[in-house]
């Protein structure tokens, strides 16, 4: 039997298949899974119980992420400027910080900062370590950890601005701080908004690590609940999906910002 040549397939069929392959299937699959889960939230008792438990931790997760990130950005800007400084003391301190913080795993770093570094500082300030909420320690630990990464992002942004900009600014009589503030940083920050956005998504995921300090974020609530009631699949399905929902929304926002920036820089 002769094989049917592929050109016998009609072109409209090809077009349809072509269009079908353009759809964002990854998103469709995730949304479908979400719908299944959603259905369970409405009907399944187990899921309903889990959801109401986890809901109380969402605010903490979001707040921890936001506050840590805000502090990390401030640290990042300062240390990033230090990393491009010509002053050997400033440069070395900044580089030391970045190397250590980027070289130790996030989990270990959080333990270290919360349990090794913070207590002596608290004693110095006269605060009894027992009363210092672990949530605060977690926020500081996350902020210090991410500060190192943001510092490198800021540094890359600053260094990506051509030398001519600094030269033009200085030749007009601006001081180095003035040139940084009015010329370099405004341009640099605009450039690094996409990576900064992505790092926020990252810190939101890493906020789950504060659970090891006993902080009652959604991961910790899930862990305790699951190990108590043995509803492992239901609990972790819900937990994973919560994170996925948050990070997906955020990455769509980041993408929108990226597109806006790409358009306006033409």
């Amino acid at each position: 039997m002769a094989t049917i040549p592929s050109s016998a397939k009609s072109s409209t069929q090809n077009q349809f298949v072509g269009k079908l392959s353009q759809l964002p299937w990854w998103l469709i699959i995730i949304i479908l899974a979400g719908l299944v889960l959603f259905y369970n939230f409405l009907s399944n008792e187990t899921y309903v119980a889990i959801l109401s438990r986890l809901r109380s931790g969402i605010v903490l997760t979001i707040v921890v992420s936001l506050v840590s990130y805000a502090i990390a950005l401030v640290i990042g800007l300062i240390v990033g400027l230090g990393r491009v400084s010509k002053n050997p003391i400033i440069y070395n301190l900044a580089t030391l910080y970045v190397q250590i913080v980027r070289g130790v795993p996030m989990l270990v770093l959080i333990f270290y900062i919360a349990l090794v570094l913070i207590p002596p500082i608290l004693q110095l300030l006269g605060v009894r370590p027992g009363t210092f909420d672990f949530s605060f320690r977690a926020v500081i630990a996350l902020a210090v950890a991410y500060g190192g990464f943001e510092a490198e992002t800021f540094r890359a942004g600053i260094q990506s601005i051509g030398r001519g900009q600094m030269e033009a600014a200085r030749s007009l009589g601006m001081s180095y701080p003035q040139a940084m503030r009015y010329i370099i940083l405004p341009q640099a920050v605009r450039r690094i908004l996409p990576p900064l956005g992505n790092d926020f998504i990252s810190i939101m995921k890493d906020s789950s690590l504060v659970s090891v300090l006993g902080v009652n974020d959604i991961t910790n609530i899930a862990r305790l609940y699951a190990s108590k009631y043995f509803h492992y699949p239901e609990t972790y399905n819900t937990l994973a999906f919560m994170y996925l929902a948050m990070t997906l929304i955020l990455s769509l926002i980041v993408k929108a910002i990226e597109n806006r920036l790409a358009k306006s820089s033409q």
Binding site: G164, Q165, A168, A169, R170, S171, L172, G173
Partner: protein, 241 residues
């Protein structure tokens, strides 16, 4: 106005500027020409301390620039510089480019700075482009904004580092016209350029550099008509076609 004495600038092993001495009187226009790598841009950049001299002295309006690190910003405000790559600030409009240094370096108020900025934009011929961003301007317009930006600081001298080398040929004239007007108005200028026409018409002195040294210096008439040095002759033969 500007005195350069025995300037030497080394980059590692490379002797970019090799014992250069020159004087520029007030209101004079000096044009420095020469092949690439001859050190002419480096000399210029030493004057406003963008490059730090290895040895030698540079004195601008009585102030020793080569050592004076503390006041360097104030000194730089008196020396205007125009770059080959324009170096306009892309996140600011043309008029904002011209106003910024006036406000944060000279301390002028918003209205005063704006008035001066518009004056300079008119002087360079593009007042209608005040609200445009650099990306919306042609190369020639950008360079003219850059010149206006430097002039708005009321500098005592203007340095031009190959201002037309990055421009399309049709736009070179508009920039050179601005520079001519500036020269005629009595500004002290040092220009590094390949534009021989400008050198002939505007310069009080032409300096030819090669391999970091000054090979010949003369009035433009004398230099272009009859260069003394063989190297200068060879260069002119290549350039003037």
């Amino acid at each position: 106005m500007i005195e350069i004495k025995n300037l030497v600038k080394q980059f590692g092993k490379l002797q970019a500027v090799d014992d250069v001495s020159l004087t520029v009187g007030k209101g004079k226009v000096v044009v420095i020409i020469g092949p690439s790598g001859s050190g002419k841009s480096t000399v210029l950049r030493c004057i406003n301390h963008l490059e730090v001299p290895t040895s030698g002295e540079i004195i601008v309006d009585g102030i020793v620039v080569s050592q004076n690190h503390k006041n360097i910003n104030a000194i730089r405000a008196e020396i205007g510089m125009v770059f080959q790559q324009f170096n306009l600030f892309p996140h600011l409009t043309a008029i904002e480019n011209i106003m910024l240094a006036q406000r944060i370096v000279r301390g002028r108020g918003q209205d005063e700075a704006r008035k001066m900025a518009m004056q300079q934009l008119e002087r360079v011929g593009i007042p209608e482009k005040a609200s445009a961003y650099p990306s919306q301007l042609s190369g020639g317009q950008q360079q003219r904004v850059a010149i206006a930006r430097a002039l708005a600081m009321n500098p005592k001298i203007m340095l031009f580092d190959e201002p037309t080398s990055a421009l399309d040929p049709e736009m070179i004239k508009e920039v050179l016209d601005v520079m001519m007007e500036l020269a005629k108005s009595g500004m002290t200028m040092i220009c590094v350029t390949h534009e021989m026409g400008f050198a002939r018409n505007a310069a009080d002195e032409v300096i030819f550099m090669d391999h970091g040294k000054i090979v010949e210096r003369n009035t433009p008439e004398a230099f272009f008509a009859n260069p003394n040095e063989a190297r200068a002759q060879a260069f002119l033969r290549q350039i003037l076609h």
